[in-house]
């Protein structure tokens, strides 16, 4: 007997995944009552004879008006019925709802034909496991039809009544679903990535927690795991498509006023637009971005997993998101990663300052680009924050200035020790005119530097001349950047 009771559905369960989910709940008292029978009531007298634990569905009886609904509630209460279902078009007023509350009888209104509703209820009650299985099966079927994580979590939220679910990353970030679900304690099911490693958690909050119901929800969440992993894998497999799509999404996202579609697409791609971002820009000299991208992205994935690498006009960008991300930490990670990556092309990287949300990301990306563009001997990864104003130089049209400089300083440039002298001018000016510092930087004796400065003066170039110093400095900077890096 007790096992039978255990098997029977409660009103709550009929609300959650039974036919009552289609009904408007007017009074939700005593939802834990089990439902053993269903009675389609055409005459009020039928209620008078109904057995305890009956779900009473008013059909023609209710058509007599609100008073008849109240009479049914009263009789249902007297007979220990489990709930009363009335047709929506009776227009149950507040006073009737209050009566049901006072009697503590659950009351529902259904828009459709009550007779059909009674049949559905009877079906559900006759075979509780079937009702549970039906919901599970429906979810499984819908999981199969969804291709994104968002869609799969959406199935749980839409189809499983009284449950809000979310897919939560290891760091607590909500990847998909209702963030409210993540906040409350509830069911948690770990979801592995396509590589089998723990990737995220499927979290569900239940409005009620009858044991049978918890089991049903747990089963459905388990069923969602494989499709979720597949959805993630699918995203990672089609690399070329992924890269092209990422590029589109990023372009759309970086507009001044990104559309909700763009943000949704970004979320679908697993990108977080909210929060603290640190952007990274990669540059490879003398390489076609288009040609280099497939190989680079493939190696990138091996090293940086699902961190996106998005090709741009003059390189690639990526970013780290999270409150713990700083320019320094990201720079270290990138430095290490680039070493491991063993890219077929020589890469330099710039790291922007941290920025919040989309505007912050946009700024950080710009800064990263500037930092990456600059040429700084010996440093593969440069932080915008460290470069400060020097980064401005990175914006200069180096080629044009170099060409102009080659004309203006022809005598110097074409002289045999031209490159040496140009480097010397740059070093002295970089060091604020200090020849000893410049000597240290160039790795020569101070006298050597002084000698070069004298020779320069002989060629008519006075690095102490205040009105020429800036132009000279820029010219040398441009020439140095335009020339191929001398072999060490």
């Amino acid at each position: 007997m007790s096992s039978r009771t255990q098997e029977e559905l409660s009103v709550a369960e009929l609300v959650h995944y039974g036919p009552l989910s289609q009904a408007r709940a007017l009074v939700t008292a005593n939802l834990d009552r089990r439902v053993s029978h269903v009675e389609l009531v055409g005459e009020l007298d039928q209620v008078r004879r109904c057995r305890p634990y009956t779900a009473i569905v008013l059909h023609h009886a209710a058509a007599h008006g609100v008073w008849a609904v109240e009479s049914a509630l009263r009789l249902a209460w007297e007979r220990g019925a489990s709930c009363v279902v009335a047709p929506e078009d009776v227009g149950v007023p507040r006073s009737t709802v209050q009566l049901a509350e006072r009697l503590r009888v659950a009351l529902f209104a259904v828009p459709a034909d009550p007779a059909r509703h009674a049949l559905d209820l009877a079906g559900a009650i006759a075979s509780p496991s079937a009702a549970r299985a039906m919901l599970t099966a429906r979810c499984a079927e819908l999981f199969g039809e969804r291709t994104s994580a968002r869609g799969i979590v959406g199935v749980v939220n839409a189809e499983v009544p009284g449950v809000s679910a979310a897919l939560v990353a290891a760091d607590g970030h909500v990847l998909a679903g209702q963030s409210a679900a993540a906040a409350a304690p509830g069911l948690r099911v770990p979801v592995p990535g396509p590589d089998g490693r723990p990737w995220a958690e499927l979290v569900a909050r239940l409005s009620t927690d009858s044991p049978g119901w918890v089991e049903v929800v747990r089963t459905i969440l388990h069923l969602a795991r494989a499709p979720l992993a597949a959805a993630v894998a699918r995203g990672r497999l089609s690399l070329a498509d992924r890269v092209a799509e990422d590029r589109l999404i990023l372009t759309a996202l970086l507009r001044d006023e990104p559309s909700p579609d763009a943000e949704r697409a970004a979320a679908d791609a697993g990108w977080r637009t909210a929060g603290n971002h640190v952007a990274v820009a990669l540059r490879a000299e003398g390489v076609s971005i288009v040609d280099a991208t497939p190989g680079l992205v493939a190696r990138w994935r091996e090293t940086f997993a699902d961190r996106p690498l998005v090709p741009t006009a003059d390189g690639w960008v990526t970013w780290w998101t999270g409150d713990e991300a700083t320019a320094a930490t990201v720079a270290r990670v990138v430095e290490k990663g680039l070493t491991r990556l063993a890219a077929p092309v020589a890469l330099t990287a710039g790291v922007g300052r941290p920025g919040r949300d989309l505007p912050g990301l946009r700024r950080s990306l710009t800064e990263a680009g500037l930092a990456a563009a600059g040429r700084d001997e010996g440093a593969r990864v440069r932080c915008f924050a460290d470069l400060g104003a020097r980064v401005v130089l990175a914006c200069l049209p180096v080629g044009e200035i170099a060409a102009a400089s080659a004309v203006a300083l022809r005598e110097l440039v074409e002289s045999p020790e031209g490159p040496t002298l140009v480097a010397t001018i740059a070093a002295v000016l970089d060091c604020g005119g200090s020849t000893s510092q410049a000597a240290a930087r160039l790795g020569v004796h101070r006298n050597t530097v002084l000698g070069r400065v004298d020779r320069l003066r002989a060629k008519g170039i006075d690095i102490d001349s205040a009105d020429r110093r800036l132009a000279l400095h820029i010219a040398c900077y441009a020439l140095l950047n335009a020339w191929p890096t001398p072999e060490p």
């Binding site: 007599h64 008006g65 009479s71 009263r74 507040r94 006073s95 006072r102 009697l103």
Partner: protein, 360 residues
Amino acid sequence: MREISAADLPALMTGSRLLSASTGFIVDACLDWVAELVDRHGPVPLVGVADLPPESPCAAIAMVGSVTALAELPPTGEEPELAVRALEARLGHPLRAVMPLAAATVNALFPIAAAAVSGLPLVDCDGMGRVLPLIQQSTYALAGLPLTPLAAVGAAGDVVVVDAAATRADPLLRAAVTTAGGWMLCAMNPTTAGHLRNAAIPGAVSRLIDVGRVLRTAADHTALLDDLTRVLGAKLLGSGRVVELSHDTRPTGPGLPANPTSVAVVEYTGAGRLIRLEAQNEFLLATVDGAVAAAVPDLLCLLDRRERRVVDPESVVVGDHVDVLVIPAAPVWHTPEGLRLAGPRAFGFPVGHPREGISP
């Protein structure tokens, strides 16, 4: 033998207002008119049905239709005589007495007017003991008295004679009433005093006058309720505030005029029980927390707790503070036949009358 003089009329009206709440100049005008008739033609003899020779032909007089329509289109004063004459012409013999169909408000006055102008006595009886919406819902019909032939007269001078089966007479008459301006004065239920003996609620007219005298002298609200309990056996179902009023909440009953109204009263005391009154022209059914507590043919009546006036379904508003009273109907209405004719099922409520106990 008792007589109705002009001096009795105010008490008669007060008494009859408990049964139906119509107020307005039209009632005053009809009262003045009947007083004028009684003054001109002399007091109307009020006779017991047993006082008449059994073979005396008699008929019921009643206005059928809406008091609101009557107030908009007052009688010309010719109607009672025309109705009596038309029925007599159809019957082929004169009447020897008239009686009320439902002695309440103007329908307590029209039979007196008919008696006065025709020089006939008024039988001290009634066919409803309250107001019921259909003309066949009377103890006369219950006892098998024929409803027709029936003569109806409108204020525009229309005279209609209806010869039809009892159930057809009401819809036919109602169509005529609508065309005639919303009300007609009828002479109906032609019978004899002998047949009337077992078909009428006796003493109904004199009871109205007695009740009216009590009501006019009651000192306060409590005394009023006590008096009503004493004189009419009234029972207080509860007191509370009208919280909801809805129209068209249930389908129109079979052939009933006007639209259904549902009134929700929440009691002041205790748990605040919900008293719901279902009305269509009259209050027909009362449930307390969903349990049927009272039903037609017993009279359900709302007394305004502030104004000492009867609140009818037409005048009730949300916020009214009311006593819900049940005044038991005449015993004949509680017989199975009586309940079949004028019990809740006759008004489309699929429930038994509380007096039937648990319904079958």
